[in-house]
């Protein structure tokens, strides 16, 4: 395992008079959440390996405003959005990649009418194009034949109709992709969206992440793949609740690809 990762910031690039091809939007979860930071690093390793010219905003990045908007605080959301747009436009950012579907959705759909127009892609889409352009290859059959089920993040799937990119990547691992009974368009939420991540759920007879974890367990997977740091947290909690963490791993698609290549 090589631990040296190169993470240039926009400010550094700018000082050198360079502008990267793509901005990696890390997001709050990817920056601060211990589990999500691993996903961030795995993705960066892949970017490094493929020699992608990228940069992050670093301390100039701030929350997209997604959780505020879904909670109903349009005022706070738009303040966040306009602050970010000022920074992004200042660096003349054209293309953004992010590993968080919530950031992806917000940047792609809700920033344009406030003056932020970028080509925004989810990291699974970005990785898929790196593979198809031959900039990245998957070596090592570590996941060959493993049963992997993919949980569709609401803000990637239903919200933006991206269903195939993450699945294509899993299939490239020669793994056995198994679908849950509700998947793709009918995929069940992990329970974190709409700012639920930040509060206790309302009274009910079950937690949503447990329901979803049970659906995942029905497929008898060895790995549950996710494409969202929040889904990852919810499903990891679900697996712990079922005391299955010794047998079943919850991993981001980027981690799968990075691990397959022993990065």
């Amino acid at each position: 395992m090589s631990d040296t990762i190169k993470v240039p910031t926009m400010a550094e690039m700018m000082a050198e008079g360079k502008s990267p091809e793509v901005l990696f939007w890390v997001g709050c979860s990817g920056s601060f959440d211990d589990r999500a930071k691993k996903i961030t690093k795995a993705f960066v390793k892949l970017l490094n390996k493929a020699n992608v010219s990228f940069a992050v905003l670093g301390t100039e990045e701030s929350c997209t405003g997604d959780p505020a908007k879904r909670a109903g605080n349009e005022m706070l959301f738009q303040m966040q959005a306009m602050t970010n747009i000022e920074v992004l436009n200042g660096y003349e950012v054209k293309k953004i990649v992010t590993a968080c579907p919530h950031c992806f959705n917000t940047l792609k759909n809700e920033y344009p009418s406030l003056g932020g127009n970028y080509d925004v892609v989810h990291h699974t889409q970005f990785l898929r194009s790196l593979l198809s352009e031959g900039k990245l290859t998957i070596e090592g059959g570590k996941f060959k034949g493993k049963r992997i089920t993919f949980h569709d993040p609401c803000y990637l799937g239903r919200a933006n109709n991206v269903y195939e990119a993450p699945r294509d990547l899993i299939q490239k691992l020669d793994a056995e992709l198994v679908e849950m009974k509700s998947c793709k368009k009918r995929g069940l939420c992990c329970g974190a969206g709409g700012a639920q991540m930040f509060k206790e759920p309302e009274k009910g007879n079950k937690d949503i992440n447990i329901e979803r974890t049970e659906q995942a367990l029905e497929t008898k997977p060895e790995i549950i793949a996710a494409g969202c740091p929040f889904c990852n947290t919810m499903l990891t909690d679900g697996i712990k609740n079922k005391e299955k963490e010794a047998q079943i791993a919850v991993m981001d698609v980027a981690e799968l690809i990075a691990n397959a290549g022993d990065l």
Binding site: C28, S31, E110, L188, C189, P201, E202
Partner: protein, 442 residues
């Protein structure tokens, strides 16, 4: 005698259609109580969606059995209405089977109506069993008690009775044709009702004419009654599904609208050159400062209100909803039913007060939709995806959350903490923005 029945028919017809027209006017007025929203872009795609989803029933077949049966009832409904046209002409002009001059084609038409009628009866029976014997879960949520439950069954009885009357009418007619009764010209082909003929064998011509006329009258009166029943029923969807799919949102489901009124304020706040004292003067030109979000039906836009009238109460949204599935109080179907009920209440209030709404101390929030329901939503869009007629319950939930947060500062405490964090350190958790890149070296 003939004239009397013709006049009577005309009166019934005018009354039936007239009362329906009055209610349609009310419906349009109520929908117009909503705020303006422009949904006329990209017309080609809108027409395509309408043809695909409303006419082609594309979303119904996601659940194959219900979808298939629904298509039968729907086809039966539309095609048998061609027969109604003949009934109306016959009724007004005292003719009998006016289209019979079409000969072979007429026989074909009548034969296919009869077969469809039987299929409709079968489908209706299965639907009835699903509601009353199998007791499909989605028909038994709390919001389905009382009128909504009866409504679902009444419609089924209605359809079955109408189809039986149609077949009885044809059977009696066919017997009369064979007897050579005056007025009953040989016309049509009766693959189903011919089996009724043996039953009618010993009846006199007069009795048969009585049966045929009674069935004929009940059939057309029944259809007019059905038409007028629509306004009070979830069955409005057979008409409103068309405009509703046409005006549906075409943008990605994850894109929530940015409130323009907020944009103006934020721009002003962030613009260092803005003169803080100039703002109110500029606003004077506009009417009242816009209320953020929705606490009552008139704060919603008219497409959301059209959605409410279009809802068929099928519960596909609710059965896909993660909150409902895990026993939370939220049910997206209830959001739509509440919106319609409140809108009806507001409409009746306007009717009773000579066209002016009189404050009734009630609103959609709290009196119909509770905060607990609103905060249980994960904004996952499963309900929007599931709805067979392109209704968006989520947009109403969001507008009501906006009201709670921006007008009332009434978010749950944990969410206030989250938002406080975003405001102060640009992340939903209490971490310092300056530490955002620390992961790099960990």
């Amino acid at each position: 005698m003939s004239y009397i029945s013709q006049i009577l028919f005309a009166v019934v017809l005018v009354a039936g259609i007239g009362y329906f027209a009055i209610n349609v006017k009310k419906l349009v007025r109520n929908i117009r109580l909503g705020r303006a929203i422009d949904r006329t872009d990209n017309k080609a795609e809108r027409w395509k969606n309408m043809v695909r989803i409303a006419l082609g029933q594309q979303k119904m077949v996601v659940r194959p059995l219900a979808g298939f049966l629904h298509i039968i009832v729907y086809a039966g409904f539309i095609i048998i209405n061609i027969e109604v046209l003949e009934i109306i002409i016959d009724g007004l002009f005292g003719t009998h089977r006016i289209f019979s001059f079409l000969g072979g084609f007429y026989s074909f038409l009548i034969a296919s109506f009869e077969i469809l009628a039987v299929l409709v009866i079968v489908a209706v029976a299965v639907f009835w069993a699903r509601r009353n014997i199998v007791k499909l879960k989605r028909f038994f949520y709390p919001e389905m008690k009382g009128w909504p439950k009866s409504d679902g069954n009444i419609i089924l009885y209605f359809e079955a009775v109408l189809m039986c009357l149609f077949l009885a009418m044809n059977g009696a007619d066919y017997s009369l044709q064979q007897m050579g009764a005056e007025h009953y010209t040989m016309a049509g082909s009766f693959p189903v009702s011919q089996f009724l003929v043996p039953w009618f064998e010993n009846y006199s011509t007069a009795t048969l004419i009585f049966i045929e006329r009674t069935a004929w009258w009940l059939h057309i009166v029944g259809i007019l009654a059905f038409l007028n029943y629509l306004y009070f029923s979830k069955h409005l969807h057979i008409l409103l599904a068309f405009p509703n799919t046409w005006y549906a949102n075409l943008k990605p489901k994850g894109e929530f609208n940015n409130l323009e009124s907020v944009t103006k304020e934020v721009q002003l706040m962030m613009d260092p050159n803005a003169d803080p004292f100039a703002a109110p003067a500029e606003d004077k030109g506009d009417d009242m400062p816009e209320k953020f979000g929705a606490s009552d039906v008139s704060d919603l836009n008219w497409v959301q209100l059209l959605n409410a009238y279009t809802c068929t109460e099928c519960g596909r949204c609710t059965s896909e909803c993660p909150a409902s599935q895990t026993g939370k109080k939220l049910s997206p179907r209830k959001i739509m039913m509440d919106t319609r009920d409140r809108l009806e209440e507001v409409g009746k209030n306007i009717d009773a007060n000579k066209g002016e709404f009189k404050e009734d101390g009630k609103q959609l929030l709290d009196d119909y939709i509770s905060r607990e329901e609103l905060w249980a939503c994960t904004t996952c869009n499963a309900c929007v995806e599931a709805c067979p007629v392109s209704i968006n319950p989520l947009s109403i939930i969001m507008d009501m959350r906006r009201y709670l947060v921006m007008e009332q500062s009434a978010a749950p405490m944990e969410l206030n903490n989250m938002m406080g964090n975003i405001e102060n350190n640009a992340a939903p958790w209490p971490y310092n923005q300056m530490d955002r890149l620390n992961w790099k070296n960990e």
